[in-house]
Amino acid sequence: MEPIPETVKAIEELGPFTNETNLLDDLKRMGSEVTELVPDCVGLSLASAEHGVTFTLIASDRQLAFLDAIQDLCGSMEMPSRPEPQPGDLDQDLLDEETWHLLAMATAARGVVSTLTLPIVEDDGIVGAVNLYGASRQAFTGHHEQLAEIFGAWAPGAVTNADLSFSTRREAEQAPRRLQDESMVSQAAHVVAELEGVSLRDAHRRIREAAQRAGISEEQLAEAVIRLRRRPD
């Protein structure tokens, strides 16, 4: 599996996020260990509560093509074909779990048929989560403990099929922007705190409230504040 471009950008340009090691190398190593254990794992996301961002690795096109070929070869035996969901299916039973599962699959990222979510716990608090994405329904069955060990995660807290739409990938795509925005708001808060003689917390609140009143985002207001501050006298 390879990191998506936004994950590379977030770590290389706005990292390092780790004290000693290179996070990109760590992610690739964990990805390799996962695919060794679960060959049809096609995606991996690591969400950090501390940094408020998600990093994602996905199977390369070559790996996906290989998996497609394998499934094509074995599909009739192991993976009976499922009917495509039709609009009318919803009317039959809105609470039918299988219907929801089929709909979710229909909109899922390419190849994702099952997911496994593992919380990462440190000092009795959740500091992050790992989401793994499989190309077969039973991809992670029987591997929870070993997978949790790779990430230092908590196996008893595992949740299955909670993210068939691969929403964490979209989260990861937002990471560079989110990190840049956060830095900019911090700069702007300092400027406001200095000008107004208030605490940083109050400055943050003032920026948030002023942005809301003006109908713009905090980041837009922060950018304007910094430009004004940098403007020559």
Partner: protein, 217 residues
């Protein structure tokens, strides 16, 4: 009886965005006031007085063939000497090609710095002898020095505070991204933060600034 005529001291301006950096360098040169007269300390404003040499400290500044240096060379009318810990040969060559009269390493002692400025004033183009600069010139100072930040770590933190990405910092400092990340890790450890916004706040409350260039308009 012939009275010996002493040459007047060379008049210099020290330019950098950081008051602490400028003041530290002036203090280092103070014992040599009979040879070097620091007549102007420029923080965020143009060099206005008539000086012989402009000493441009690169701490927290863009390096290489950048507009800031171009303005100094063309607007000040003085010989411009770049003073930096980064003596990457390509960077030195580009700086000299842009019109700088000298490029001096921060590994120099204050006495050697004075001699180098005198050589530049005499018309020589002075560049480092290819020796890697060390981090420390004892008489100079920089923000974060008091908490143990090396000059390079402080330099990187200054650019983070100004909002630059690691790639931009690498480009401005002629460092690899991995080196930049190594300096960031070390700096974060020393200032007790783990996240970039925290580092920015720390920087802005410990003498670093949002400004991103020395002003010589």
């Amino acid at each position: 009886m012939t009275v010996p005529v002493l040459a007047p001291p060379i008049r210099i301006a020290i330019v950098n965005d950081y008051e602490l950096v400028v003041a530290g360098l002036a203090a280092a040169l103070a014992p040599y006031a009979d040879q070097i007269a620091v007549v102007e300390l420029e923080v965020d404003s143009p060099v206005v007085r008539d000086v012989d040499v402009v000493l441009y400290d690169t701490f927290g500044q863009a390096q290489g063939d950048v507009a800031e240096l171009d303005k100094l060379v063309h607007d000040s009318g003085a010989s411009v000497v770049v003073f930096s810990w980064n003596v990457e040969p390509e960077l030195v060559a580009r700086t000299i090609a842009q019109g700088a009269a000298g490029y001096l390493s921060k590994a120099l002692t204050a006495k050697e710095l004075v001699e180098a400025i005198q050589a530049v004033h005499a018309g020589d183009v002075v560049t480092p002898p290819g020796v890697e600069a060390s981090d420390v010139l004892p008489a100079t100072d920089w923000p974060g020095h008091d908490v143990g930040l090396s000059a390079r770590e402080a330099e990187v933190l200054a650019l983070i505070t100004q909002g630059y990405s690691n790639r931009e910092i690498a480009a401005r400092s002629y460092l690899s991204i991995n080196s930049v990340k190594t300096y960031i890790r070390a700096a974060y450890r020393k200032i007790g933060v783990t996240r970039r916004p925290q580092a920015i706040v720390w920087g802005l409350t410990h003498g670093f600034d949002l400004h991103d260039r020395a002003a010589v308009e």
